[in-house]
């Protein structure tokens, strides 16, 4: 295969806060081929959103980022400000979580969708941008008249569609969706997932999808990576990982979303005690061991590295 659309090597992201250094991403490497889709799963604080934001250098100033990110052949961490501006929206675009907060309340949605096109000169004029806004709104299933609406006049599902239209404005190659369906109810979530699937197909988009809902990722992505305490702890073909997890943490996440009709989960919700560890104060050895139902002495001395656990699969657990 040709060069991957996205290649991440030994990525480390550290926030320097008042309370000391917080390592949010601690050595993540993966490749994403053109047209492929990767789901990134994990709980709050596992580093998944930090990772997504690092890919387009959207982290707060002063955040330390080391390693290598190659997106569409560009060395993201060493781009000039001009090169970075060009890469955002066109090489990669993010659909942010929280559809209400990501939109400007005092601008119409049409103006907001047109903005990246005008900034990046992908539309020659205001009127060309206006035509493209209408086309994008139609594509995401909204009437053209919605261009004149303000965000508060739209439902949650409609706002999510606006954010998708905005992300598509400059024809990005990589689309990163950070919790795009979390606040939406079941039917609207299905509508948004179907729309993303169709767009991926027709535009040959490379898709990276982030959420804690493993069942959504399994449905929407070909590959799945599970993050815990700033590292990928399991990775592989999505359905394979979901149904036959190698890492005890993945198993717990997968069991949290029961299969309707499965007698073993009827009246038997499955969970995992405790909270994810606080970045900066990780337990010694495997960071999952204090919550792991299978923990034993071998988990304590060193943090296990990701290693092969089958075809196209890897996991970071001493039991693998």
């Amino acid at each position: 295969m040709s060069e991957p659309m996205l290649s991440v090597r030994d990525l480390e992201v550290t926030y320097h806060g008042h309370g000391g250094d917080v390592p949010a991403v601690r050595g993540v490497s993966f490749d994403l081929e053109k047209g492929d889709s990767l789901g990134l799963a994990g709980e709050s604080g596992c580093g998944k959103s930090t990772l997504a934001n690092a890919l387009l250098r959207l982290l707060p100033a002063g955040t330390e980022v080391t390693g290598q990110i190659t997106l569409d052949g560009k060395d993201v961490l060493n781009l000039t400000p001009g090169g970075l501006r060009a890469a955002r929206w066109t090489s990669g675009a993010i659909i942010f979580q929280g559809a209400l907060h990501a939109l400007n309340p005092v601008q119409t949605v049409g103006e907001q969708i047109a903005e990246p096109m005008l900034v990046h000169h992908t539309a020659a004029s205001d009127s060309a941008a206006g035509e493209r806004v209408v086309e994008l709104l139609r594509r995401v299933g909204l009437p053209a008249a919605r261009a004149d609406s303000y965000p508060h006049q739209l439902s949650g599902g409609q706002r999510q569609r606006v954010l998708i239209a905005m992300a598509l404005a400059c024809d990005p190659l990589l689309l990163i969706a950070d919790e795009p369906t979390t606040a939406l109810d079941l039917m609207v979530q299905a509508q948004v997932l179907a729309l993303l699937g169709d767009l991926k197909q027709e535009r040959e988009l490379t898709l990276m999808f982030i959420t804690h809902d493993l069942s959504v990722l399994t449905y929407a992505c070909r590959r799945l990576a599970v993050m815990y305490a700033g590292r990928i702890v399991e990775e592989g073909p999505a359905r394979d990982v979901f149904e036959n997890a190698a890492h005890p943490y993945t198993r717990a996440l997968a069991a949290a979303f029961p299969t309707i009709g499965d007698e073993t989960s009827r009246m038997a919700p499955s969970g995992l005690g405790g909270d994810p560890p606080t970045p900066g104060r990780l337990p010694q050895g495997c960071p999952f061991h204090p919550r792991c139902p299978l923990a034993h002495d071998a988990c304590l001395p060193v943090e296990p590295a990701l290693r092969s656990s089958g075809a196209e699969r890897s996991a970071a657990c001493v039991l693998v």
């Binding site: 439902s155 039917m187 399994t218 069991a255 949290a256 979303f257 009709g261 005690g273 909270d275």
Partner: protein
């Protein structure tokens, strides 16, 4: 008509209108001791308004709400959760529901103090915390919400409700804002409280997996009405109403089912469609598979709400009575 004196709550033909918007439009349901009823529906179906009415936070336009322990003829007090300790509420987001400047002891004791039930306060707070799985309870007394885990915070919220020794818990999306791994432990706690104390829970959710995990019965709400109700296994394994079937088909895990993604969103409750309120979005009607004499009724004749006290019913012309 009373479905039986054993019910904790009976809601009969309830209407809650806001001007022209009929948010709740003829809903009936009941909850018995020791059972979990999951009230399922999309945003805008009226499910939150319905439980706010049960709680006494929303005045019904018409219809009956009977809660055990209340005088049916007397006017209902405004805030049910304070005046009727047997109905308590658990909110969605534990971090937002807890006062960060109060200790866990003070948070849990607050309901007792508001009701001037200060007798045996320490014992009752300890019992509630311990029931909610926070043991030994004394260890949690002096802690502040930020000092415990996310799962423990939701347990504190539940303890704050349990301290009033309620018969019925109203829970609005109790795990929607929690991480996946914590979700299961909170659902397991809710089910255990029901099994061990005879508590009843009415849980509002759009999460059908939650219903499969803990609910005895499911009621599906659409545009202000219950359109199908039945035992959980029946509702989730062989639903009859086309709306329930569509909801089930889009759960990511039910992959064998052919997806029926409904277009658009729930219509404006100020403009409820004629006939069957679901007919403009109904995949069964749109498929053309219905016999013409039934298909002709859907846009004009209202199949009516599911009957009061029904254990299994679907408001659809295509479902045999």
């Amino acid at each position: 008509m009373r479905a039986g004196v054993t019910n904790l709550v009976e809601v009969e033909d309830l209407h809650v209108h806001f001007g022209a918007a009929r948010a709740v439009d003829g809903a009936s349901l009941h909850v018995s001791p020791g059972e979990v009823l999951a009230l399922v529906g999309e945003s805008g179906s009226g499910k939150t308004t319905l439980i706010r009415a049960i709680q006494g936070l929303q005045k019904p336009t018409s219809g009956q709400i009977r809660v055990e322990g209340e005088d049916g003829d007397a006017p209902r007090p405004k805030i049910q959760t304070i005046f009727n300790p047997s109905v308590q509420m658990v909110f969605q987001d534990p971090t937002g529901a807890l006062n960060p400047r109060q200790t866990i002891y003070e948070i849990v004791a607050e309901g007792l103090r508001i009701r001037h039930e200060a007798g045996e306060e320490v014992e009752r707070v300890a019992r509630a915390l311990s029931r909610a799985g926070l043991r030994p309870p004394e260890r949690f007394f002096p802690l502040y919400p930020h000092e415990v885990s996310g799962g423990q915070r939701q347990r504190v919220v539940i303890a704050g409700a349990m301290v009033m020794e309620p018969r019925l818990l109203l829970a609005d999306e109790p795990v929607a804002s929690l991480d996946a791994s914590i979700r299961g432990e909170i659902l397991a706690l809710m089910r255990r409280l029901v099994d061990e104390t005879g508590l009843a829970i009415l849980v509002v959710t759009h999460d059908l997996g939650l219903a499969w995990n803990i609910a005895d019965r499911v009621a599906v709400m659409y545009l202000g009405r219950i359109v199908e109700t039945g035992p959980t296994e029946q509702m989730l394994e062989s639903p009859r109403h086309p709306y329930t079937r569509a909801l089930l088909s889009v759960v990511p895990e039910t992959r064998e089912m052919e997806q029926q993604i409904l277009t658009g969103e729930i219509p404006d409750p100020a403009r409820i469609p004629s006939g069957c309120r679901f007919h403009p979005r109904c995949p069964l009607l749109q498929s053309g598979a219905l016999p013409p004499e039934i298909a002709a009724r859907c846009p004009t004749d209202d199949p009516g709400p599911t009957p009061v006290g029904a254990l299994s019913a679907a408001a659809c012309w295509a479902v045999p009575a």
